[in-house]
């Protein structure tokens, strides 16, 4: 018969609570973080995005066009940002992400309706993120129908017969089949790199102080920059291996295209790897042991997954959440990878994201160097 001693059980219980209390960072993470995350993600995440940036190529104007555009705007799915002229300008806007939709009103649209020629409005959608544009595309039919009802009265009443006087053709660009794997897989590269690069660096550095070897290391004339570079570079190489493996499987298993510039890709991932290593370095200056370093690294992963646009459309988040999202390195690298792999982007198309990444990089590196002590203080 096995007997349980309540006294011993309570002793273990109490000891556990005491240790929990002593490890403030862990305790804070267990209580504070879930609350922060609940509020943050609960309000920020929305899988039915509204106010998607839309541009209009206006080759004709008249009551019907105005009614259609007004209907789109009041649906709250579309947010008109301006006018484009020419197909090329529209394509560029879709590729560099300034617009999710381009509405093309053909020339003589109004006349053709009157003549009963059933003209087509073209809705070009950036389908590289199928979830983001799905709702808006789905709502399009209803918008058109109510616009028709409103406008086609009076002299045009005659054309309001059985067949609609005009229609909308949706053109899904970059991911015509609207496969979610095409969208998710390139995004995963951003998440995988964030996770492993940050974690490995943080742990590698904290291990040094935890085992006491940091004391010998900094008693030598070595300088912080030398330590930082020397410790980080091996993991850059690990990052390269990850990317090669990733690209191979993305192609072979998921049939994800690689349409863009290799040069832009190389520049982009190098910057992203460095940003993550710097972040790992920063974490290592905050954590006191490997366990804390690991926990802190994991904590940076959740926002990267949820607020970067990886899992849920970036455009669907409220403004404040987008601001937070814009401060996350993965957000920008995600865009870089998707633009290059799916939209065939080159260096010029990713300039905006590269600038943002560089800014984040500068801030993180400055904080890390500020926090890093050449002493044991």
């Amino acid at each position: 018969m096995i007997s349980i001693s309540p006294a011993r059980f309570f002793a273990v219980l109490i000891k556990e609570f005491i240790q929990m209390k002593r490890d403030r960072i862990t305790f804070g993470m267990m209580i504070g973080l879930p609350i922060a995350q609940l509020l943050l993600f609960g309000y920020a995440i929305n899988s039915d995005p509204r106010y998607l940036p839309t541009l209009v190529e206006l080759n004709d104007n008249g009551p019907v066009v105005r009614s259609v555009l007004a209907g789109m705007e009041t649906s709250t799915y579309f947010d008109f940002k301006g006018i484009v002229t020419g197909v090329e300008a529209g394509d560029r806007a879709l590729r560099d992400g300034t617009a999710n939709f381009i509405i093309v009103i053909p020339p003589d649209f109004e006349k053709d309706i009157v003549r009963g020629r059933h003209p087509d409005i073209l809705l070009s959608a950036d389908a590289s993120d199928p979830t983001a544009v799905g709702g808006a595309v789905g709502a399009m039919n209803g918008i058109i129908n109510s616009a028709i009802k409103q406008v086609l009265s009076g002299p045009l009443q005659a054309s309001a017969g059985s067949a609609p006087p005009f229609s909308v053709t949706v053109h899904r660009q970059f991911n015509p089949e609207a496969r979610s794997s095409t969208n998710i897989v390139p995004g995963l590269l951003a998440i995988i790199l964030s996770m492993t690069m940050t974690l490995i660096t943080a742990v590698a550095i904290v291990r040094e102080s935890e085992r006491g070897t940091m004391e010998t290391l900094i008693s030598t004339p070595v300088r912080p920059t030398e330590v930082m570079l020397g410790k980080i570079l091996p993991y850059v190489l690990v990052g390269y291996v990850q990317i090669i493996v990733f690209l191979f499987f993305a192609r072979v298993l998921f049939d994800v295209p690689f349409d863009g510039s290799v040069q832009a890709f190389v520049v982009g991932f190098n910057l992203f790897i460095i940003v993550n290593l710097a972040l790992g370095f920063l974490i290592s200056t905050l954590a006191r042991n490997q366990m804390q370093a690991m926990q802190l690294s994991v904590f940076t992963i959740l926002p990267s997954i949820l607020l970067s646009g990886f899992m849920f459309p970036f455009a669907a988040m409220p403004g404040w959440a987008q601001t937070i999202g814009a401060a996350i390195p993965a957000t920008h690298f995600l865009r870089i990878v998707r633009k290059i792999m799916l939209k065939g982007a080159d260096l010029g198309d990713i300039a905006v994201d590269m600038t943002s990444l560089s800014l984040i990089m500068a801030v993180i590196a400055a904080l890390a160097l500020l926090r890093y002590r050449q002493t044991l203080d």
């Binding site: 940091m214 010998t216 030598t220 004339p221 300088r223 203080d377």
Partner: protein, 376 residues
């Protein structure tokens, strides 16, 4: 009484002490030189220091000093770990740094080699400012940590090679080879450092911090947890280095190590309580000692321990050393016993052994904020 003092009773440490006959004069001369030079000069560069003491304080760097610090203070949070410490280590000396656990020895050593930034005070190490020139100090100092802090997952050779690269040594391979040869680890060089026994780890650590031929060695309890044989070998090496002109600052809890030092400093609660040439320490304490032998020492030892005015009864093999700072009272106790023919009493000069036991037993661990050590 702890076990430690008895380790001196095997007599092995006495020859070491006997080897130092010329030392007291030399050190006394050095000490007086320190006083003179320091009083004469006023360092011009510290005029702006707010907590600068008056000009009469020991002050300027003297070329005879490897280390001088003044008013060195370190706080962690609201706890003052090192409190206004003054210390002068002459070049070429073996300087013993004693004090109970938590008294601030490690913190002091770390501040001297630039690993910690002091909250107050100033000083120089090998002529370099400990506050501003840590980089230059690091080039010329060998620091051996209390805990083994080389890479356990690197081999012996890889560790030495890494350290050699840190100091950008020329002929790196030859120097590492020679170090391995001297260590006697040449045939085990590809063994992981973590697999070594405590004594070997300590020898490896010493070899690693000697690679760049430092002028000053800072050894933080280098022999903690090391067997006696390895400790003796270690000290042979320390003395050899000292002869070559290397200054050694070593913290220790062991008497047999303390008696090998030319100078002794004793700190408690972060304050320097006593410091000077080893031979002068018993006099500085004002300690007097009688030697007792005879039958039935055990009973006598117990009795003397309970005797008022007797501060210390230490057993050295078959004799007792009975000490007190109250000379008259001690003499009276001795005469009382002689009158009763209990034991054979002879007055002797108090040596560093008695002084060491006096200092170490008077002190408690300094981690509490309780009553200060009685040694002062």
């Amino acid at each position: 009484m702890s076990d430690e003092p008895r380790s001196g009773s095997d007599g092995e440490d006495l020859p070491a002490q006997a080897k130092r006959p010329a030392q007291p004069e030399a050190t006394a001369a050095a000490a007086s030189e320190i006083e003179k030079t320091s009083e004469a000069a006023a360092a011009p560069d510290d005029a702006g220091t707010p907590d600068r003491p008056s000009a009469s304080e020991p002050d300027a760097p003297a070329p005879t000093l490897a280390i001088w610090v003044r008013g060195l203070t370190k706080k962690f949070g609201d706890k003052t770990v090192v409190d206004g410490l003054d210390m002068q280590v002459p070049r070429g000396a073996i300087y013993g740094f004693l004090g109970p656990n938590g008294s601030g020895k490690t913190t002091t050593i770390r501040m001297m080699c630039g690993l910690l930034t002091p909250n107050g005070g100033q000083g120089e190490c090998l002529g370099f400012d400990i506050l501003k020139e840590a980089q230059k100090i690091k080039e010329q100092v060998g620091y051996m940590t209390q805990k083994f802090s080389l890479y356990e997952d690197l081999t012996i050779r890889e560790n030495l090679d890494f350290m050699a690269r840190m100091y950008r040594l020329r002929n790196r391979k030859a120097r590492v080879d020679r170090a391995l040869e001297e260590l006697g680890l040449a045939d085990r060089q590809s063994q992981l450092a973590g697999k070594l026994s405590g004594g070997w780890k300590q020898r490896l650590a010493l070899a690693a911090c000697l690679l760049h031929e430092p002028k000053l060695l800072l050894l933080d309890e280098p022999t903690a947890g090391v067997d006696p044989k390895a400790r003796r070998d270690f000290w042979d090496e320390i003395r050899r280095l000292s002869k070559q002109g290397v200054t050694v600052l070593v913290s220790t809890h062991y008497m047999d190590e303390a008696v090998q030092c030319d100078y002794i400093a004793y700190i408690a609660y972060g304050k320097m309580l006593i410091s000077g040439p080893s031979a002068a320490i018993p006099d500085m304490i004002g300690l007097h000692t009688w030697r007792v032998d005879g039958p039935n020492l055990q009973a006598l030892e117990t009795e003397l321990r309970g005797t008022e005015g007797i501060e210390q009864v230490a057993r050295f093999g078959a004799v007792l050393h009975v000490s007190s700072t109250n000379e008259a009272r001690l003499r009276q106790v001795a005469e009382d016993h002689m009158a009763k023919s209990v034991g054979h009493w002879t007055e002797k000069k108090a040596e560093l052994e008695e002084a060491f036991i006096y200092l170490m037993t008077g002190a408690t661990d300094n981690f509490s904020n309780g009553v200060k050590g009685v040694a002062a």
